[in-house]
Symmetry: C2
Subunit: 344 residues, 2 copies
């Protein structure tokens, strides 16, 4: 769909050549938050661009839009060629995974604005969807509809201010062995890039059974799932039905974080959710698994009464406890004890 325009002032894209008859354009912008600070602390810049593309692309999927093109904004104090090259390489990888064109970008050098080695990133995506495929189909959503959870790859790009605090409390460095038994460093495990769901989920989202998709970002399941539900409906989820990844259990344990704060800060293993008709559930689950994603039936919709929450998650404590068994908490515990002794 790209129309050649190298060195031009703007990128040109032909949406009609992408096969659309009357496309709605769907557009979103996002950053990667303070996951940047961890990338910068680890000196590892080649995957944060994947996160940037993912955060934007996974948002336009909420309209069942196919990502067409992406633009990035890269801001720094003074340009470090090696860092910029790695960052752009990650963005290019992300665009390949999302099958969208990298149409343009802006590199801004702003002396005095960013410290040496620091930079910020913003991404912008435009997708397209035929009117008939547009999600959410709110009028069709009803009690007993099933909530399907799609596995995240880890933290994705939310909650990193909290992550940094907990890592500091743990006494671990980003280069230390990960306490999650992966054989990687802690930094590498925290930086695992956000999953890009467009290729795997788009065919499913445009099928007959899916009524809504929510991207689980800041605010977690309790704030993102209700964004696509009609008033009057609530979701009842059971965390025993999905895999809560060890990283979340470790963060809760070391940081002493409440369950409700965990729910509103992290994806807890579910990067996106679909609302599906009960009769279509097994077909949708099979299609998603066929595409290579892990997915689970994690809950169901029901009438919402009065001021009750829009999302209830049961068995979270139990799930976190089970996940914690995969973590090595000795180092963190020793550090915490040391801190306590030091303070008393």
């Amino acid at each position: 769909g790209c129309v050649g325009n190298l060195g031009g002032f703007a990128g040109v894209f032909d949406a009609c050549s992408a096969g659309y008859r009357h496309p709605l354009l769907v557009s979103g912008t996002d950053g990667v938050g303070t996951k940047l600070k961890i990338a910068q602390a680890c000196g590892r810049h080649d995957t944060i661009g994947i996160d940037l593309v993912a955060m934007c692309v996974n948002d336009v999927l909420a309209s069942a839009a196919e990502p067409l093109f992406f633009l990035d904004y890269f801001a720094c104090g003074s340009l470090d060629g090696a860092i910029a090259r790695d960052v752009i390489a990650g963005i290019t990888d992300g665009c390949c995974s999302a099958e969208c064109a990298l149409l343009g970008g802006e590199t801004a050098e702003m002396p005095g604005m960013y410290r040496k080695g620091e930079y910020d990133l913003a991404g912008f995506v435009v997708g397209a969807v035929e009117m008939k495929d547009l999600l959410p189909r709110s009028v069709d959503i009803r009690p007993a509809d099933v909530v399907i959870g799609i596995a995240s790859s880890g933290l994705h790009s939310n909650g990193f201010s909290m992550v940094r605090k907990v890592v500091e409390m743990s006494g671990l460095g980003y280069k230390d062995a990960s306490p999650f038994g992966t054989g990687h460093t802690l930094g590498a495990d925290l930086l695992v890039p956000t999953k890009i769901y467009s290729k795997s989920l788009l065919p499913v989202l445009r099928g007959a059974h899916v009524k809504a998709y929510a991207h689980v970002t800041g605010g977690g399941l309790p704030e993102n799932l209700p964004r696509v539900l009609p008033r009057g409906l609530a979701a009842s989820l059971d965390s025993n039905h999905w895999e809560v990844a060890p990283v979340f259990a470790w963060l809760q344990h070391v940081g002493g974080i409440s369950e409700s704060e965990m729910l509103r800060t992290f994806n807890l293993g579910v990067g996106a959710v679909l609302v599906v008709s009960p009769e279509g559930t097994s077909e949708v689950l099979a299609a998603i698994r066929q595409s290579g994603e892990k997915a689970w039936e994690i809950g169901v919709l029901a009438e919402k009464h009065g001021d009750t929450p829009g999302v209830i998650v049961s068995n979270l404590g139990e799930s976190l406890e089970r996940a914690l068994k995969c973590c090595d908490v000795t180092a963190a515990t020793a550090a915490a004890n040391h801190l306590t002794e030091h303070e008393s």
Copy 2:
């Protein structure tokens, strides 16, 4: 063209309802550079959003695209409601002037990334143009075509790292009276928002006579005009044919900046240029002036020989000298003398 989607994950826009049959999408991203630092130093946040919209919108005009919608990325350390409100108000003003929809945005709070009171901004615009109207029409551009310059409103959003250095050398503060005889403060004069050209220029750009449009941003006339010229053609411009604003003369005088650096850093009074057929020039000039913009015939295209520059500007020294007569340089001169005495 907006399709209601409040609280949704992404904005939805119907380009076909905007009257396009086979629209090409034209997209650009930009920031406002260190003009931000001056807005922040002056505590004046309600016009920098206009600059942000202008920098993006004026870029997609290079394809003769009508801006359809805009998204912003606003990043700060911790959100200051009053500042954010002013910034967004400016963005809204800019979108009104450009007649494009503010379709969405992202507000990122990143503790430890930005200092108190500091923030960064990125903008993204999507425009549309029918294939038949797409600019530049490079094959039609030939020797003797006329270059029309459109007046800028001042510095626009480029060269501000240099501006900040010169202001520091001048001994003036942003709250001091402007040395340009405007009756405003220096800060206010430096912050005059970038002109948004879409409303006034789009009808002209889609007329028969215009072959190319260049947005004069970083790199000035020498780097931006050649971006739309075919190899083998150069532009010969005469700065006596346009109004070089006093601000540029003052910056050169106080900063001791060479003419060639002035040309590559600032717009020098010309915010955009059009390449027009000789027979269409008077009609195009009349139409632009009718729309309320100042415009001048500033030069002509000719064959380019060998390694000669793509843009030659004559009489610049004379024009700057004349403009300097409108400036009060006593304060800056006194400060410079004081510095010199102090150092010796």
